[in-house]
């Protein structure tokens, strides 16, 4: 399938999952995993940094619009999108990065993917939850939310990445 179509589907799926499922889960005030980050995370490594940045902008703005958070998702997504090339170069190494494949478990290995996902999700969650609270006076509550939702997001993102890149792409 054409790459553009695959990524459009991925974008739609994770955005809909986020706003119709994970934003609607009303089990506890602590649960709000961010899975929409999978879209920017899984862009091929050969993608030009400017395109990654614009994809981050697209993901952030659409999440802000549907969840009514003025700028919170955009600030977090732009930051992670901008620092993505550096993260990948550090984690998978310059050679694998230059190959330009999709940074998914079957391509870069599960261990490296989990490290990449953890770093990416932690930065996104830290920015998201502290900006959403608009103050640092709830520091421990924010930290707890970051860690709890971070762990769940990493699990979900790994699952999405495994489904997105099937075995044949090994």
């Amino acid at each position: 399938m054409h790459l553009g179509i695959r990524y459009t589907i991925l974008f739609l799926v994770v955005t809909l999952l986020q706003c119709l499922v994970f934003n609607q889960v009303q089990i506890s005030i602590w649960l709000n995993p961010l899975v929409y980050v999978a879209f920017v995370m899984l862009l091929p490594m050969r993608t030009a940094p400017i395109v990654v940045l614009l994809c981050g902008l697209l993901a952030g703005v659409s999440m802000d619009v549907v969840s009514g958070l003025a700028g919170v998702n955009t600030i977090a997504s732009l930051f992670t999108a901008y620092s993505r090339p550096l993260m990948l170069k550090l984690i998978v190494g310059k050679d694998v990065y230059a190959d330009g494949g999709v940074p998914a478990p079957r391509v870069i290995g599960l261990n490296k993917f989990v490290v990449y996902a953890t770093l990416f999700v932690l930065i996104q969650n830290l920015l998201y939850f502290s900006l959403e609270a608009m103050t640092l006076s709830y520091f421990y509550l924010i930290l707890l939310k970051v860690l709890l939702n971070g762990a769940i997001s990493v699990l979900l993102v790994t699952l999405i990445a495994s489904l997105f890149v099937p075995k044949s792409h090994n």
């Binding site: 009303q26 958070l69 600030i75 959403e132 709830y138």
Partner: protein, 276 residues
């Protein structure tokens, strides 16, 4: 010239990143709970269909508990009505009743979206200004507990600040005591709010019910807020902090009551004229 082009190629992503990030920070810094509610109303016009579907599903599964609550509420209100009727009959007040206008009007709405996992949570309901819903109307659960207040209305939907919102403020006092304090959410539990600024000497015990005061033009007097669960006395402060277990189960609300204070505009105009 070539060098300049090379330099631009090298830094343009960073430059665009900084510009975009600054723009979004600017937008974020200028936002308020009002902006968030405004954004929610805008997105709701797109998502209302889908949200409505989810709300119906949620509502379907909650029907039996909801029915029980409503039946209990109806019984309580019937008892109250019977008591009022007997008072009216006993003192032959019937003739005077026509002249009495209630200060509060109640109407029913349904929750179509309800966030709970943020520090600033909002509830979207399916009534807007076309149904006479406007800013500063009170939002109560179907059994009459404090839930929030309307912040923004569009034609068919309104966004309300939930009691689980760190910006939510109301005043409350224990049923058997007139010492009042300020109600606010500390973001730590969906079942608790904090009643602060209550004088230490006030006679309050665990298990007391806290209700709204008459000092607000949003909430009618006597709306149930919660039950005292914990009292903390700070040595350095003349007041105690009281943790209340919320009477409303915010996570599972479906049908809600809207309360309009008919005199709110008159009171607000009067207060504004003094402030000017």
């Amino acid at each position: 010239m070539n060098r300049l082009l090379l330099f631009i190629r090298k830094v343009y992503v960073g430059a665009i990143f900084i510009v975009l990030e600054l723009l979004s920070i600017l937008f974020y810094a200028n936002s308020s709970p009002y902006t968030q509610a405004k954004l929610l109303t805008a997105s709701n016009s797109v998502l209302s269909g889908v949200n409505g579907c989810f709300a119906s599903l949620h509502s379907y599964f909650g029907l039996s508990t909801e029915n029980e609550h409503l039946a209990a509420r109806v019984t309580a209100l019937e008892n109250e009505l019977a008591m009022c009727r007997s008072v009216v009959d006993e003192y032959e007040l019937n003739d005077g009743l026509d002249a009495v206008n209630s200060q509060f009007h109640y109407s029913l709405a349904r929750v179509v979206n309800n966030t709970v996992s943020r520090q600033r949570n909002f509830i979207t309901i399916n009534k807007g200004y076309a149904d006479n819903v406007h800013e500063d109307m009170a939002l109560l659960t179907a059994d009459g507990c404090m839930l929030g207040r309307v912040v923004v209305s569009d034609e068919h939907y309104s966004v309300c600040m939930s009691i689980l919102n760190v910006d939510f403020k109301a005043s409350g006092h224990p049923l058997n005591n007139k010492e009042f304090g300020s109600i606010g959410w500390d973001g730590s539990s969906q079942h608790h709010v904090v009643l602060s600024e209550i004088p230490k000497y006030a006679d309050i015990e665990i298990g007391d019910t806290v209700v709204s005061t008459s000092h607000s033009f949003v909430f009618p007097e006597g709306v149930k807020i919660g039950v005292v669960e914990q009292i903390t006395n700070n040595d350095n402060s003349p007041s105690s902090t009281i943790r209340l277990r919320l009477c409303a189960d915010v996570m599972s609300v479906d049908k809600v009551l809207l309360v309009e204070n008919v005199d709110a505009t008159i009171i607000k105009d009067l207060e504004n004229s003094v402030n000017q």
